[in-house]
């Protein structure tokens, strides 16, 4: 994604200014990335907001401004994975609580409407974490293999392998959907 904020540091902006600038430039796209990872919009917003808060706290140690965006991407992926893991507790709770028919407030139904979109998001959720993350970073953010490797802390070979398996799995799941 275009990085209009590469001169943040040169301009001597503080953490607050960095947050505002990066928010304006990247918030929507990062939330959409998070939706691909965690499925629902509200959680995605929380994941990205958490990431901005974390980035704000680290601003002083982010030596170069473009590292702030790389940090944000990494934080979004890590927070999303953490949310998915923690959902286990809630799932256990809900298993012992009868579901309530009332729709959850705040969920943007329109955003998730559309059978194909739902099917794609459902299919992504069924992929292993790494495959889902690699697909989202490669095909949604258009990151290079080395950027993905750096974001996820894995080798380029592993990126290739996860991408290949992820595409195959996604194709298979989408065929099931048809």
């Amino acid at each position: 994604m275009p990085l209009a904020s590469t001169r943040l540091w040169d301009q001597g902006w503080d953490a607050d200014a960095a947050v505002e600038h990066l928010y304006a430039a990247h918030y929507v796209r990062l939330v959409r990335l998070a939706v691909l990872l965690v499925r629902d919009v509200e959680t995605a917003e929380e994941v990205v907001q958490d990431s901005f808060v974390a980035m704000h706290g680290r601003w002083g140690t982010l030596a170069e401004p473009d590292k702030a965006l790389a940090y944000l991407r990494r934080a979004v992926v890590n927070h999303a994975r953490s949310v998915l893991r923690r959902r286990g507790v809630r799932a256990r709770h809900e298993a012992s609580t009868p579901p309530v028919a009332r729709p959850l407030p705040g969920v943007d139904e329109n955003a998730l409407a559309g059978e194909r979109r739902t099917a794609v998001l459902d299919a992504l959720r069924r992929l292993p974490d790494r495959q889902r993350e690699v697909l989202a970073l490669r095909y949604y953010l258009d990151l290079s293999e080395s950027e993905i490797a750096e974001t996820l802390g894995i080798s380029r070979g592993a990126v290739k392998s996860h991408a290949s398996r992820g595409v195959t799995a996604l194709r298979s799941l989408m065929e099931d959907h048809r």
Partner: protein, 331 residues
């Protein structure tokens, strides 16, 4: 559509989230990244009632949010004589230079109570504080239905006349977060519940949010420095809504997170400062205990303990002082 090549996957993923329109999130981020700025979260600028009692003569900031109820006015409190009262710790909200923060009080359970923790959380929700400066921001009629201890979390069930999942327009995000923390701190500090995180239910089910604060997984208590008031008085301890009877000299203790650990105090009658002094908390800049002794002739006073006004350093308009106050009656 079946993805065949890279470009198909690209189109598929783009399309899957093309309609996602996130809500504005910058204010939330700013609130969470800025604990130093003086905020007026209680409906600042909104015309409303101003709490003013003898004990609040010198309060730094008044509260104007209409739905905020005055502490100590809850029903059934003054006339209740508990059959087997138990001591519980209850947290209430107060305004400080750092925004809304928690103040603690020791209470007794009501006579009808069978669950001390539930009773304490209900007292917190109702704002049944002894100190009239302390408040609750929970919507009127909010009911605590249950507090259940599970293996690795506490389940607190709430219900009410209003939609508790949403943050009222007059409530700032900071106030909503601290109101949720109010219940977490109260639940954790009673019934030997330790540091178990708290999962909230609204109307019998876990919702995505509580007062607009996410509630998807059990919530942890914020750290003392983030949740508790920068300055608070522990003793003389208020046991009801009347002035605290003391004999001179009397000991004042509490906790403060003050610049250079400087804690200042005044004993006032009306606007007149009868005594003043300062002491040093055990540590600088983090919550640490302080204590000092006050001598005064018999009479009714307001004791005020505060940190230094940080406005001179931070240019925040003179509202940088945090304080706690107690009405005392010296015999």
């Amino acid at each position: 559509m079946t993805p065949i090549d890279d470009n198909d996957v690209r189109v598929l993923l783009d399309d899957a989230v093309a309609d996602v329109r996130p809500r504005h999130g910058l204010d939330e981020i700013r609130e969470r990244t800025d604990d130093s700025r003086v905020r007026r979260p209680w409906g600042w600028g909104v015309a409303g009632t101003v709490v003013a009692t003898a004990a609040t003569v010198a309060a730094v900031a008044m509260f104007s949010m209409p739905s905020v109820r005055h502490g100590g006015t809850g029903p059934d409190h003054a006339d209740t004589t508990p059959a087997t009262p138990l001591g519980v710790r209850v947290y209430f909200l107060g305004d400080t230079a750092a925004g809304p923060r928690l103040f603690q009080e020791d209470h007794l359970t009501s006579s009808s109570s069978t669950d001390p923790t539930l009773d304490a959380v209900q007292q917190a929700v109702d704002g049944r504080s002894h100190d009239p400066d302390y408040l609750t921001a929970w919507p009127t009629g909010t009911q605590v239905d249950r507090v259940d201890r599970r293996d690795d979390y506490l389940l607190v069930g709430l219900s009410g006349r209003f939609d508790l999942t949403r943050r009222p327009a007059s409530m700032s995000p900071a106030l909503a977060r601290m109101s949720v923390q109010q219940l977490i701190w109260t639940a954790q500090n009673n019934g030997d519940n330790g540091a178990l995180p708290v999962l909230f239910e609204v109307d019998g089910a876990v919702r995505p949010t509580l007062l607009g604060v996410r509630d998807r997984t059990p919530l942890q208590a914020a750290s003392p420095n983030d949740a508790l008031a920068p300055v608070s008085i522990d003793t003389p301890r208020q046991s009801d809504q009347s002035s605290i009877p003391v004999t001179s000299p009397f000991l004042v203790t509490g906790r403060a997170a003050a610049f250079e650990a400087n804690v200042q105090w005044e004993l006032k009658q009306g606007d007149t400062v009868v005594r003043r002094g300062f002491t040093t908390a055990a540590q600088c800049c983090t919550l640490a205990p302080y204590s000092f002794t006050v001598s005064a002739p018999p009479g009714a006073y307001t004791l005020i303990v505060h940190d230094e006004d940080a406005s001179g350093r931070e240019g925040n308009g003179g509202n940088g002082r945090s304080q706690d106050s107690k009405a005392v009656l010296v015999h």
